[in-house]
């Protein structure tokens, strides 16, 4: 698979190449991630979009080896964080990357915090572990962090337990924990999915402002294209453990190329649409990845499927400047002469 092709002067802080992760289950091997490559520059926000089971979370958790092994196994690829391959780091070195250089925010703030420790304890833990802070230094920093993520009266709230916080406030605490050690990369795994819409908007605003303030690279996993449109610089669409389309956010929304992306965009209800319109959906189920894809994984659900799709998995290629897509088909307005000949 070719390296994605959007050019920029800044070197990426995180560069993933050909990542492959499988799960060994009683029903055989599940190929969850099948050669994912992407990069992230400092200060950049990349949205990762896809249905449940498309491999978004598994990809990101593989980077930090957060998946329990077994059943998971990372079978190939590399993940360079400023030149060091995370997949080949010693466990002790990896530990200091986790929380120290890469922060992770999980989906469900209700269960992601330990119920029996105070927020202060859970927040100062990485500070003392990675930055070697004393108890009082860590406490002072924890107060700063809580006010950074917009929690009122942080001194008092440090002594509170997670159950004394609302869902949105807990997610702010999770973000504060992820940001504690000034990470270079923040990975947010559907951080707003479990929250209601107004709280979601608050969290999105918070992340936008934090990003400008702190200048770290952010990977934002979601299945909500509307969320991505509001905050991301670039978008990666994943399907069947593969990146199927990748472009700047404006480009992707203006000219989606992959039939899956196009279908996803069509499922979005529009504000000016008439009420009688039924919500659109993509027919069929996401693939059950019992074997590595030899054909296009989207073919069974694709409206533009043809013989080549079933014979050969399309590679991710630059179809337009800064716009990568893994599909044999091209939308009509962009079909070039050579591709017409190839299809014929």
């Amino acid at each position: 698979m070719d390296a994605p092709a959007i050019t920029d002067s800044k070197a990426p802080v995180l560069e993933v190449q050909g990542l492959r992760t499988v799960f060994h289950t009683s029903e055989g091997m599940i190929h969850a991630v099948n050669g994912v490559s992407f990069y992230l520059r400092a200060g950049e926000l990349v949205g990762v979009v896809g249905e449940s089971g498309s491999g978004k979370s598994v990809t990101m958790m593989s980077l930090m080896k957060l998946l329990p092994e077994p059943p998971a196994e990372i079978v190939g690829g590399s993940a360079l964080l400023e030149g060091r391959d995370l997949l080949r780091l010693e466990p002790s070195a990896l530990r200091h990357v986790r929380g120290g250089e890469i922060g992770f925010v999980f989906q469900d703030p209700m269960t992601s915090l330990n119920p029996v420790f105070t927020i202060g304890y859970q927040l100062t833990e990485p500070l003392r572990e990675h930055l070697g802070m004393s108890r009082s230094e860590a406490r002072a920093r924890a107060i700063d962090l809580l006010s950074l993520v917009g929690i009122p009266t942080p001194e008092e709230r440090l002594n509170d337990f997670p159950h004394q916080f609302s869902g949105g406030m807990r997610q702010r605490v999770m973000i504060a924990i992820a940001l504690a050690c000034d990470p270079k990369v923040l990975i947010a795994d559907e951080p707003t999915t479990a929250l209601d819409v107004t709280i979601q908007a608050q969290i999105l605003e918070l992340v936008k402002s934090l990003r400008q303030e702190l200048g770290m690279g952010i990977v934002w996993i979601t299945h909500d294209l509307g969320v991505v449109a509001g905050i991301a610089d670039r978008v990666m669409v994943m399907y069947g453990g593969l990146v199927v389309e990748h472009a700047r956010v404006s480009e992707l929304y203006a000219r989606p190329m992959h039939p899956y992306t196009r279908a996803l965009l069509e499922t979005l209800p529009s504000l000016d649409g008439t009420r009688s319109d039924r919500l659109r959906s993509i027919a069929g189920q996401p693939p059950h990845m019992t074997q590595a894809p030899s054909a296009c994984p989207f073919a069974p659900r694709c409206t533009h499927v043809h013989d080549r799709c079933l014979a050969e998995n399309p590679p991710l290629v630059e179809a337009a400047p800064g716009h990568d897509v893994a599909c044999w088909w091209r939308p009509p307005e962009q079909v070039s002469e050579s591709e017409v000949n190839a299809d014929a």
Binding site: R98, G99, G103, L113, N114, P115, V116, E125, E129
Partner: protein
């Protein structure tokens, strides 16, 4: 928490009154005669006199009232006098709960037997906890490993083999065939120096082994299940994502949560230590509380059995409260006020 504790303690009073009445009434209604073990040639009228001398001539409510007074007033006063060396009121003529068969105060009998029971059953409990907690933690952390499989096998044995079998089994193996440990626990043995301490340890090993096997089996399964419940929680992943060491993740984050139900179970089972281990005490001839209770039942010694049973009831009510309070202390989500 303080108000809750006071409320629970006050609530325990009617509970214990009802329990005391039920115990007294049930044992009083039970068939049996305190003179039945006396020689058969004692005439009927003498037997009747003996019964009356034991207080059986009085109606039920009088006997119950006197017993309650003896249990809740006279005996505590007596204990206070012994502890502080003072005299409160007319201590010479104060009526104590007397055993029918030995004519000595029941409380004195219990005080005499308690050390043996605490040594053997208490030690078995301590040994059981000390083995069960680490084994449970490791079994859960390395689920389905050889260690876990072996642990499961041994705990299944501990669960399924009753002490009257395992007790005899270890006697046959370790006393009869190997001759390592005595089969009879010498209650009169006094620890004075190193050698007598070693002898005490030596004679405790077999009964402690039998009891600890049972306790370990139950507690290991419980600890393992509680660890497994928590190991897959999201907060464990968060702790790992924060870069905490595996040791901190398992022994701090997971264990702290897993211990909540386990400590409650441990606290709830403490009364059973004082209750002794009736069967194991019989097998190894440990002259403890269990043996005292069985002897009292066989001799129809109602005051002894009633008092012992009621003390167990008090301990059970008390340790239920202790377990609830511990739960509130350990789990910040639980607030009683």
């Amino acid at each position: 928490m303080f108000r809750y504790t006071i409320r629970r303690l006050l609530f325990a009073i009617p509970t214990l009154l009802v329990i005391s009445f039920i115990i007294f009434a049930l044992l009083d209604l039970a068939p049996g005669d305190p003179t039945s073990q006396l020689p058969i040639n004692i005439p009927a009228e003498v037997r009747q006199k003996i019964r009356e001398a034991l207080g059986l001539g009085e109606p039920f409510y009088v006997r119950y009232g006197l017993w309650m007074q003896q249990f809740f007033v006279n005996e505590p006063l007596n204990i206070l006098e012994q502890w502080f060396g003072v005299t409160i009121g007319d201590s010479e003529n104060r009526l104590r709960v007397l055993s029918w068969s030995t004519r000595s105060p029941v409380v004195d009998l219990i005080v005499e037997r308690m050390p043996q029971t605490l040594w053997v059953v208490g030690m078995a409990y301590v040994v059981g906890i000390a083995i069960a907690l680490p084994v449970g933690v490791i079994s859960a952390y390395r689920q389905y490993s050889i260690f876990d499989q072996a642990g499961t096998f041994i705990t299944m044995i501990g669960f399924s083999i009753p002490p009257f079998f395992s007790g005899v089994l270890v006697i046959v193996i370790f006393s009869v065939n190997l001759g390592w440990f005595p089969s009879i626990y010498d209650t009169t043995h006094v620890v004075t120096d190193w050698d007598s301490f070693l002898k005490q340890i030596n004679q405790m090993i077999l009964p402690v082994m039998v009891l600890a096997l049972q306790i370990t089996a139950q507690l290991t399964r419980f600890m393992r299940a509680s660890m497994l419940d928590n190991l897959n929680q999201d907060y464990v992943r968060t702790a790992r994502a924060k870069g905490m060491s595996e040791q901190a993740v398992v022994l701090l984050h997971v264990l702290r949560n897993s211990m909540i139900p386990v400590i409650t179970v441990i606290a709830l089972a403490v009364p059973s230590i004082f209750g002794g281990a009736i069967i194991t005490e019989q097998i190894f001839k440990v002259n403890g509380i269990g043996a005292l209770l069985i002897g009292g039942i066989e001799a129809g010694d109602l005051p002894l059995v009633q008092t012992l049973t009621f003390i167990f009831a008090v301990l059970i009510v008390l340790f239920n409260l202790v377990a609830d309070i511990l739960y509130g202390i350990l789990d910040p989500r639980i607030r009683y006020d």
